[in-house]
Amino acid sequence: MDSLGALPQVLFSGLAAGSVYALIALAMVIIYRTTEVLNFAQGDMAMMTTYVGLAFMVAGGMPFLGAALAALAFAAVLGACAEFMLLRRAKEPSVLGLIIITLGLEMIVFGFASWKWGGEPRDMTIPLAPTDVTVVGGVIMSHLELAAIAVAALVIAALFLFLNRSKAGLAMRATQQNRPVARLMGIRVRRVEMGVWALAAVIGGSAGLLVGPAATVEPYMMWDPMMKGFAAAVLGGMTSLAGAALGGAIIGIVENLFGYYVSTAFKSVVPFAVILLMLAIKPSGLLARHYVKKV
């Protein structure tokens, strides 16, 4: 049963699962970097995006890719609205206060989606069937898994290009580093913050659109990926995008290794043990720079 021969397969599966976590981690890190908010509503916003995509496919008769793009557009609007209506209105928010606001948002989104579509699981059929696989050197790679990895890689690359090579990305980085000065330099920081939330919602939504076809679409679908994504973000350092991606991959792989070789029962807890060890050695995460607190 235990065989080192299965190791490549386990590693690949871990990487695929980790790609989804990485996407959520990226979304959370983007928001945290710029607005210092831990967005606990990330998972359920992604869930809602998936439901909307499903609605476009079923009721609107659109093909998957079209429906997915429309759903991501919806996600952008949702993220922007959330920032505009909720986060911006908070007066003198404390860290905890902001967390509670995002939790409240999460409940509203969850309630809304459950009310509209009900609690029964639904199917999301995409052009990639579960049996579409490519076998490379003994490792069976399903096309859905490859798609997850590809999407994650694409998003990371696109983010790097965007943040480092485009004006909007420059504006985002400036806002993150020093908000008042960025404002003085003529950057419309409020618009940037709205854009950040929209971007994060789109990235999170893409994670949801990857989980939906692999499992079922139901209100609780993103709870577990969301927690793992959050853990991945912390593991990588809440301010580093590369860290978020790396964190996601590590958690996915560690989880699957533990699940296969040791026990599936405690699979969900092991990533946190890893994080604890990591944080004991380097408290600010893997790739973040340790900012010394000014008194």
């Binding site: 049963m1 459950s114 609690g119 579960p130 069976i140 499992a215 577990d224 296969y260 029962a265």
Partner: protein, 396 residues
């Protein structure tokens, strides 16, 4: 100085006044029954992680509406009190206590999803002698020890597991059976029953894999199943996990004989959400199949469009809400116009071989497990047609 004391005195007086509320009205001598009404309650997860099972309580609503429309029971209509407990025992207790203690009280409880919520209220109900029929969970807790007012219907999960294993070994000739089970009471019950039955045949499970409720990534689970070389896999999980398992297995080119518990017996649902992978699955069932051509099923299926809420689906859980409560309605009928708790219990005990949507139900003095029979069925290659493999039979 005087001011301070005056303020303090006013504060104290208002404080004490707040608590001078009148005492609660005590329920009538025969709670829940008036000349024209019988009050029956049910808890259910209308929201929360188990919301898919919320249709059980709604099925009971349809049954009671049909009974009322047909004239009620001996001139009394059933007033149905359904509340959402989110599968959270704290809420179940609150809801049950509220219904029981507020006038006009509750005569009895019907069904009710979940072992934990049910266990939380069991002692409270039994201490007061409040009848409870058909808990929607196949747990041993309802009948060990048997309670005077608790009439269980759902066949035991362990019995289902036994029957499935027996069929796999004897009829399908499988020797390496693996078990995939949920980490909760439901999964563990099935797990234990399966292992016990395998031991009877001198076999050991190829591998036993536990699944957590929130897990969405089951790749390591399926890999373990595959690497164990199992030729059959028992699935004791919820529908979403079954879907993920089948899809992952299809990708990993692992194709054992799948055997599923009764919670996965809703074939149309499973066929849809697995995207067509629900082929050649052997499953256990405690109720007639949703699209069966039998009169007792058609009676409700034909009435469904008229009574059901928009968005409801005619599936196994909805039917369970009807099937687990039919014996209670029968008991109410047999108790006659002079309805008391004792007459109801005596009436329930007199039920022998009652057949409704589920299997045959029989109670008796001291016998509180009403239904013991289940049957096995198998989906065909298209995943839509179902052939019955074994007749309705008790598991010995």
């Amino acid at each position: 100085m005087l001011d301070k004391f005056r303020n303090a005195a006013a504060a104290l007086a208002t404080g004490l006044l707040c608590f001078a509320a009148p005492a609660q009205a005590q329920p009538a001598a025969l709670a829940g029954v008036t000349d024209t009404e019988i009050h029956i309650g049910q808890w259910g997860p209308q929201t929360g992680p188990a919301a898919a099972w919320g249709s059980v309580a709604r099925g009971t609503a349809m049954l009671f509406q049909m009974v009322n429309d047909a004239g009620g029971i001996h001139g009394r209509k059933i007033v149905y009190h359904m509340f959402d407990d989110q599968y959270n025992p704290a809420r179940t207790i609150a809801g049950v206590k509220e219904l029981v203690e507020k006038s006009p009280g509750i005569f009895g409880f019907a069904s009710g999803v979940g072992t934990s919520p049910g266990l939380a209220v069991k002692d409270y109900l039994m201490e007061r002698g409040i009848p409870w029929v058909g808990p929607a969970a196949g747990s041993l807790h309802w009948i060990t020890p048997p309670q005077k007012a608790l009439f269980a219907l759902y066949p035991l999960y362990a019995d289902e597991a036994k029957l499935l294993v027996r069929h796999l070994v004897e009829k399908e000739g499988k020797k390496k059976i693996a078990i995939l089970y949920a980490s909760d009471e439901y999964g563990e019950n099935g797990h234990r029953g399966a292992v016990a039955e395998m031991q009877r045949f001198g076999l050991a499970p190829a591998v036993e894999v536990a699944v957590n409720q929130a897990d969405r990534d089951l790749k390591s689970h399926v890999l373990k199943l595959k690497e164990s070389g199992a030729d059959a896999v028992l699935m004791w999980v919820n529908p979403t996990h079954a879907v993920i398992t089948l899809k992952t297995a299809a990708a990993l080119q692992f194709a054992p004989q799948w055997a599923a518990s009764s919670t996965l017996s809703d074939v149309p649902l499973m066929q849809t959400i697995t995207g067509g992978l629900w082929k050649n699955i052997i499953f256990a069932s405690f109720s007639e199949l949703p699209d069966a051509d039998l009169p007792e099923v058609k009676k409700y299926r034909d009435a469904f469009p008229k009574y059901a809420q928009q968005g409801e689906r005619w599936g196994v859980f909805f039917m369970a809400g009807i099937g687990f409560v039919e014996p209670m309605v029968e008991g109410l009928r047999r108790a006659g116009r002079n309805l008391t708790r004792e007459s109801f219990i005596a009436a329930m005990e007199s039920i022998r071989g009652y057949k409704g949507l589920m299997g045959k139900v029989s109670f008796g003095p001291g016998e509180r497990q009403g239904q013991r029979e289940i049957f096995l069925a198998r989906t065909d290659d298209s995943g839509t047609r179902v052939t019955q493999l074994t007749p309705w039979a008790e598991v010995k």
